[in-house]
Structures are given as structure tokens and as C-alpha cells.
Symmetry: C2
Amino acid sequence: MKVSTKGRYAIRLMIDIGIQSNGYVRLKDVARRQEISIKYLEQIVGLLQKAGLLLSSRGAHGGYRLSKDPYDYNMGEILKATEGSLSPVSCLEDEVNNCLRYNICSTIKFWQGLNDVINEYLDNHTLGELMEIEKNLKEKNIDYSI
Amino acid sequence: MKVSTKGRYAIRLMIDIGIQSNGYVRLKDVARRQEISIKYLEQIVGLLQKAGLLLSSRGAHGGYRLSKDPYDYNMGEILKATEGSLSPVSCLEDEVNNCLRYNICSTIKFWQGLNDVINEYLDNHTLGELMEIEKNLKEKNIDYSI
DNA sequence: TGATTTCCTAGTAAACCCATAGTATAATCA
DNA sequence: TGATTATACTATGGGTTTACTAGGAAATCA
Ligand code: FES
Ligand code: FES
């Protein structure tokens, strides 16, 4: 019942890129700030870009930037892009690969309910919100250091 | 973000044992009804018993039975006994193995919120409820077969 | 051209999941 | 008591997933 590093790193990466407001952000810098291997970030960022959540620019002075307003991203779409399905049991996954016990199963409704509360939470929180928290946190840290 | 088979099988096993109202239930029968390997069930049942959720009786006519009223079990405790911690990120796990970025992390509140909605859902659903669904399902199936 | 940065594909060590095997131990009944 | 039945406990292995690491091709800019 864990979100993998891919999903967690993706969120931190999106916040980091979103907060650098000007132009494209190099992965090298994200890696340094977030203390995550650049090679691993490359893989994660590939998933986000394929899902249309990030835009890229190759070559010198290249990098990544958000493809839309931070408040238009919900956490569900970011996690789904990196984690795949978020449903807590595979029986809920898709119609193709259906569970054989689906019709005689007394637990599926219970799992469906869990899936619903998880998705409702994730879909109602935006990247913009988390960026605000990050900004506040940074200000506080600057205050303390004075 | 998946509940493993251990947790899912544990719930089905608890429902199965709970529904056989008289005396101890043999694992062999549970295995047959639920189509789960008896040897794998042994491992799972061991965890549930250690957590005090089941009582066992060895020897002939032995087996397992619930240790309390079905409505006094919530799904959270059953899953915790088999899955371990249910928190969606390890940063929330325990104070001992703390995340180094905890104090400068802008995402921890978000994860805490997710953890809260999950636990609220799980703690507010009981084994008794699921047993009712199972009973209704059985009745329906009997009706159809007539 | 040369420096830089993304993009793509393999590879790997460790962890975890699922299941099987075998032995030990206890209860029951003839 | 001795045979039978049934659970407890321990060990182990194959398969999959996770979390990285590595190398190099392709694209872009100065
Ligand atoms: S076991 Fe798959 S639907 Fe319940
Ligand atoms: S990364 Fe551990 S608390 Fe945020």
C-alpha cells in the first residue's frame, strides 16, 4: 500500500520545476536541489512528458517546463502518469483483465469505496497548492537564518 | 499503491470463517471455498492469530474462529495485521526511521491527508458489514439456481 | 564544431510476493 | 497407548517489481 519513489519524486520534481518561474529548468539543477540522481529523474520526467504534463527543450539551455497553470494539475494525474493505475486492488483495474471472482465477490464494493475516497482526495488537490506550501516553507527558512 | 494478496486474502478468510457460525473452521475448507492455497493461508492466518484477531484449536476437529463479534473488527486492523503499515509513504511510518527531508518537505502534509482519508475509510467499515454482503450474495445465487 | 542537455535502452542488485515442502506438535478417538 | 487428523513453525525458491546506474545517440545553441 505504498506510493513508489517514482510517484513521490515526480511530485517533488513538478513542484521544483513549477517554482522556477522563468523558462526551462535543467534536470541537473532539479537533481541537485532535490538530492535525487539525475539519471533516475530522466526516466521519471520521460513519463510526465509523455503524459503531456511537461514540455521539453533539448540542447544547451534546454530543460523542462510546465505545460499549463499549476492549479490545473491535480495530484491524481501526476501520480497516475508515473505510478500507473492507483486502484488499491487489481480487480478494479480494467474490464479486459477481469477478476474471475468479480460476480461472486463480497469485497469488491468495499475496495471500490476505498478507491473512491483515494481518488477524490487526489483529484481535489492541485500542484499549485503544493507550490504555495513550498514557497511558504522557503520564506520561513530564510527568516530563521537571519 | 496496491494492497497485496496477503491483505486481500486475509479479508476473504475472515469473512469465510465468520460466516461459518458454529465452532472452529478448518483451513482446508476455507482454502477450497476461496480457491486459495492452504499453505499460503497458513502464513496469513498466523499473522491474524498473532494479532489476536483469530483463535485457533489444534488437532482433530480443530481450526480457527473469530475472537470477537464481527462488528467489532474494523477493516483497518485486519489489513494492518497482514500488510504492516498502511501509510502511503514511508516518511509517515514511524519516528525512529525518520525521513531526513521531513522538516523541509512541502509534500508531507499532502501525504498525511491521504493517509487520513484512507484510515478513516478503513476504520469505519467492519467485518460484520462485509459478512452481510456475503450472505446476501449467497441467497441471491441460490435464487438464481432454482 | 563543441558544449550541453534531452532522449532511449539495457542492465543489475535488492526487495518483495506468492507459493511449496517438510517437520514438529498437539488433540482426538479407537 | 497408538494411529490419525489437523494446525504450527521454519525454510526455501522462482518470479516479479523497485530503485537505481550506465552508455550513448540525437538535438540544440553559441
Ligand atoms: S477477488 Fe477479484 S473481485 Fe473480489
Ligand atoms: S520526502 Fe520524506 S518527508 Fe517528504
